[in-house]
């Protein structure tokens, strides 16, 4: 599903954010990526989203070579992945329903399909009742759930979450992780970047540890 071969990313010459990273993530896997600030986690995410191009090496996602991907192809590629951010990134001037519908509008989904899919996604994250609320009327946990609904409404093959629990209290963090796990159970490949050791240790999933741009460990099912 995701395959990196000898990927190096330098922002300025000689200083590598990622240095010769190779890894493989299979379809349906749930993977944590951990590491300190500056370890290259965010760079890895941005490479996977094709926001950046590697300085060298190759990246293949869903059978597509991201290095050779043209600017025109990027939107179609991103429609097959859902993204969740630490700061939720909801549109403040639109209500919950419109925020989720937005992901379908940009892909020019017909309105009749949208009317089915948005309530379904909101039910999955437990926010069906709050579809009329605006982001500022919701708690942090609820906002992140809206973001997850937006990420899964397109039924993506891959879900990438960049510090999804970074701004949340433990109870809400667990709610969010539960939703990501449910998505994984439905067949979506999930990649979560996190600092939260408690979650990583408790969930017993594959953990890839980055340090200064290198993979220092890749452990399947921590704690088993």
């Amino acid at each position: 599903m995701i395959e990196l071969k000898e990927v190096t990313k330098e922002y300025s010459k000689g200083i590598a954010a990622l240095n010769g990273v190779s890894l493989k993530i299979e379809q349906g896997e749930f993977v944590f990526i951990v590491g300190d600030s500056g370890s290259g986690k965010s760079t890895l995410i941005r490479l996977l989203m094709r926001e950046l191009e590697p300085t060298s090496g190759s990246i293949k996602v869903m059978g597509r070579n991201l290095v050779k991907m043209s600017h025109r192809e990027i939107p179609y590629y991103r429609r097959k992945m859902g993204v969740v951010f630490q700061d939720f990134r909801l549109l403040k001037d639109r209500n919950v329903y419109e925020n989720v519908a937005f992901a379908l509008r940009v892909t020019e989904t017909p309105t009749r399909v949208l009317k089915k899919k948005v309530p379904a996604a909101l039910s999955l994250v437990g926010l069906a009742q709050k579809y009329k609320s605006y982001p500022k009327e919701l708690s942090g946990g609820e906002q992140q759930r809206v973001a997850i609904a937006r990420a899964i409404v397109n039924e993506p093959s891959i879900l990438i979450a960049d510090e999804p629990t970074g701004n949340l209290d433990p109870a809400n963090s667990w709610e969010i992780m539960k939703l990501l796990e449910e998505a994984n159970n439905r067949g979506t490949t999930v990649v979560v970047v996190t600092h939260n050791h408690e979650i990583v240790n408790t969930m017993k999933k594959r953990v890839i540890t980055l340090n200064k741009g290198h993979i220092v460990s890749d452990v399947k099912k921590v704690g088993v």
Binding site: M49, V83, E108
Partner: protein, 301 residues
């Protein structure tokens, strides 16, 4: 494009304008000023051109025939000249008519003086007066006429021809330069307004791109905003000018009635036949280009 997408684009485009109210108003005002000035210059130019053209029509070259020229040759000169696109009219003036006109102009009431001439002194002065569509083609027509069989001499008025074509050229250059400057200013302003809109909605654009929006989808509301600003900005001055033009013309004609014989203005409808579509197209075009290239630049970044 789906209907729902069009509806979304229109809604967002209007929202952009409402969000940046002050900038939108400033852009519309500048666009209005540009199109207004364009309209004024255009009206001025077409009228001066019209007046110059009228004056040009009165400037003719005169072709005299060889003594031995046959009737066929004389007729052929007329046919050949009339075939040319730049020739408006070829008028035959026979010697007797020429003498009559000359003596009427010259002797006036003193017909006694005229009696001193027993026969027409202008015999062999049969000629063609050739009127051209545009004074610029005079030199070419003269050369052509001189090459025709049966032509003895061609008289032309270089000074008038040169002066008139110089006025035409100068006017075209000046209006062209002014209009060009105005267009650049307008494009710059629209671009600024759209940049403001993009800055305000930077986060939204980033989110759109993360979830797979095509550039065209992100671009559409901003381009629509530019086009609407252009359209509104062009419509206001065109309406104002429509009424102002008629009033100005009638004011000039009543205030300076002495000029009535010289000045002949084009009617409003005649001016607007071109000014209306060109003005609207300019407004929409500037709005489109200004916003299209600005958002394109920002999307690439």
């Amino acid at each position: 494009m789906r209907i729902s997408t069009i509806r979304y684009t229109v809604k967002q485009g209007l929202k952009n304008i409402a969000h940046n109210k002050m900038f939108s108003i400033a852009s519309i005002a500048t666009m209005a000023a540009c199109i207004f000035l364009f309209g004024v210059f255009y009206s001025l130019m077409v009228n001066v051109t019209y007046i110059v053209e009228k004056a040009e029509e009165g400037v003719a070259i005169v072709i005299f025939f060889d003594k031995e020229a046959t009737d066929d040759e004389v007729a052929n000169i007329k046919t050949q000249l009339e075939k040319r696109e730049d020739v408006l009219e070829v008028k035959y003036v026979d010697a007797d008519a020429a003498w009559e006109e000359f003596s009427k102009d010259y002797f006036g009431e003193n017909s006694d003086a005229q009696e001193g001439f027993s026969e027409n002194p202008l015999v062999n002065s049969d000629n063609y007066e050739v009127y051209m569509r545009s004074i610029e083609s005079q030199a070419e027509v003269v050369e052509f006429a001189e090459g025709l069989p049966g032509v003895r001499k061609v008289n032309k008025s270089d000074i008038v021809a040169d002066a008139l074509s110089n006025v035409n050229i100068l006017l075209a250059y000046v209006s062209g330069a002014i209009i060009l400057i105005l267009l650049i200013v307008a494009i710059f302003l629209i671009s600024n307004t759209v940049t403001m809109g993009i800055t305000v909605r930077r986060e939204e654009i980033a989110i759109m791109k993360y979830i797979g929006a095509k550039d065209s989808f992100v671009r559409a509301p901003f381009v629509l905003e530019g086009v609407l600003i252009g359209l509104i900005g062009a419509s206001i001055p065109l309406v104002v000018l429509y009424f102002a033009y008629g009033k100005t013309v009638s004011y000039i004609l009543t205030k300076f009635s002495i000029l009535n014989n010289i000045l002949d203005f084009l009617p409003t409808a005649e001016v607007y036949k071109t000014l209306l579509p060109v003005g609207l197209l300019l407004g929409v075009g500037i709005g489109f280009l200004g916003s299209f290239f600005t958002i394109k630049k920002h999307l690439r970044a």
